[in-house]
């Protein structure tokens, strides 16, 4: 136990620094982009087909693409997606993805967006219909109905599932180690390879992940409590 405490004192600062400089930015950027993908995908999937022929065709294509995107990212492992984007695409001369950060953020955000789009879609559909009708009866445009009335309320409803997605993403950023990003888990692997304190190092890094996810869980709790009065 004493040895473990000494190990923690020695390596915790560098692990936490790596969390601040790699894990948390990777999580935050990917989550924000993922949320944008999720909202766009959900809105496309629940949109009614317009009656005008060209608009109907465009919307049908968008709906198909949105459904394909969700299916693709939910039906393949994230580690495979990372390998395809980081190792596969540059091999096919798409060099934009040769940068590990670009590849990681692309995969993490698209993956999060695919899963979260279902949470956002469910949340939008669970806003009572009368809220939308009340907005329409005031004369609001369709865009105003969604941005001013439906989405703010869907945001509250989707706090629990989106918090789940955020927590999963934070842990999944450890997969960035396989595409050469020296994030927190990669760093712990490097340290364990040097000092051979394998069990202790991996337990220590697990504790740091648990600490970070606990902070997010507490944040979720307070956010839920704050927004609980926005129900009807």
């Amino acid at each position: 136990m004493t040895q473990f405490i000494q190990l923690a004192i020695q390596y915790l600062p560098s692990l936490l620094m790596t969390a601040i400089t790699y894990t948390l930015p990777l999580t935050a950027i990917s989550f924000i982009l993922g949320l944008i993908f999720a909202i766009l995908t959900a809105l496309i999937r629940i949109a009614k087909l317009p009656s005008e022929t060209v608009a109907k065709l465009i919307m049908s294509v968008l709906k198909t693409l949105a459904a394909f995107y969700v299916w693709l990212f939910r039906s393949t492992p994230m580690i495979v997606q990372l390998f395809i984007v980081f190792y596969g695409l540059p091999n096919a001369h798409i060099n934009f993805f040769a940068n590990a950060w670009v590849s990681a953020i692309t995969v993490f955000s698209l993956n999060t967006g695919a899963y979260a789009s279902e949470s956002v879609r469910a949340a939008i559909l669970s806003v009572p219909k009368v809220q939308k009708e009340a907005a329409e009866s005031l004369g609001m445009t369709n865009r105003q109905v969604y941005w001013r009335v439906v989405l703010p309320q869907a945001a509250r409803i989707s706090i629990p599932p989106l918090s789940n997605s955020l927590i999963s993403l934070l842990k999944d950023t450890s997969l960035a180690s396989v595409i050469t990003i020296v994030e927190m888990f990669y760093l712990s692997q490097q340290i364990a390879a040097e000092n051979y304190k394998i069990l202790s190092m991996y337990v220590l890094v697990a504790m740091v992940y648990a600490l970070l996810t606990t902070i997010l869980t507490v944040g979720q709790h307070y956010l839920e409590r704050y927004t609980s009065r926005f129900t009807i």
């Binding site: 009656s51 009572p128 009368v130 809220q131 009708e133 009340a134 907005a135 329409e136 009866s137 005031l138 004369g139 609001m140 445009t141 105003q144 001013r148 009335v149 703010p152 309320q153 509250r156 609980s228 009065r229 926005f230 129900t231 009807i232």
Partner: protein
């Protein structure tokens, strides 16, 4: 005056409105009565285009809408500006305070400045004796208070007509009385109102004009006095059933 002619609303399994024609005069309280599922709410919601009938026409001011033809967005906007609507329940915007619920329409739709809309909203809150509730969220109000705020939100748009779709049916008697008191006051001030209700006592007190609908068809369209003294068998049955 608003006029609907030959309105038919056909669902796959049911005809909700069957050749309904009626007029609604300004500065009158029209009460729409009828058994559950008779088409009362469908008729009311047709007026502000929340329901799109299968056929028929709606005429108001200089505008005539033929429901068999496409309706332009501008026409929908103009129709909706004519009416303020109060729903049965849960229609206040849950994420906005009472004050913000009231100014949302004027600011977002009528493009009034926040300062002007707030001033008008504060005057409404004072008129309804609810000034102290301005900063509360709908979840922090009783059902009766919520409905009074919903009435204020509708009035804030300065509509020509107020539509009320069973505004008290989700309330217990004490809270219902609070809302009915407000509606009676509005009726006294000759606010143009079209009300769907099951409350015969309220209809008796405030209605100038009654439309009785049954099975999607109009069974009575005339004065309130005429309705309550009607000898028609079906109206008598309805009045007796609703009295229990």
């Amino acid at each position: 005056m608003i006029e609907v002619k030959h309105i038919i609303k056909q669902y796959p399994e049911k005809r909700a409105l069957d050749d309904v024609s009626a007029t609604f005069n300004a500065h009158e309280t029209t009460v729409i009565l009828g058994p559950s599922g008779s088409g009362k709410s469908t008729l009311l919601r047709t007026l502000n285009l929340l329901e799109r009938p299968t056929s028929g026409t709606l005429a108001l001011n200089d505008l005539t809408i033929n429901f068999e033809a496409p309706i332009a967005k501008k026409e929908i906007f103009n129709v909706r500006q004519t009416f303020g609507m109060v729903f049965q329940e849960k229609a206040l915007f849950a994420h906005l305070t009472v004050l913000k619920n009231i100014i949302e329409g004027p600011v977002q739709v009528k493009k009034e400045s926040v300062a002007v809309a707030t001033k008008k909203a504060e005057a409404l809150l004072e008129r309804f004796g609810m000034t102290e509730l301005a900063a509360r969220y709908p979840s922090e109000l009783s059902g009766g208070q919520q409905q009074r705020v919903a009435i204020m939100r509708a009035l804030a748009m300065q509509p020509e007509y107020l539509l009320l779709d069973e505004p008290t049916s989700a309330l217990d008697p004490e809270l219902e009385a609070q809302v009915l008191h407000v509606l009676k006051e509005l009726a006294t001030q000759r606010t143009s109102m079209i009300v769907v209700t099951h409350n015969l006592g309220f209809a008796r007190q405030v209605a100038d004009h009654i439309i009785f609908i049954e099975n999607g068809q109009i069974g009575y369209d005339g004065s309130a006095e005429g309705f309550f003294s009607a000898t028609d068998n079906r109206i008598q049955q309805f009045l007796n059933a609703m009295s229990f």
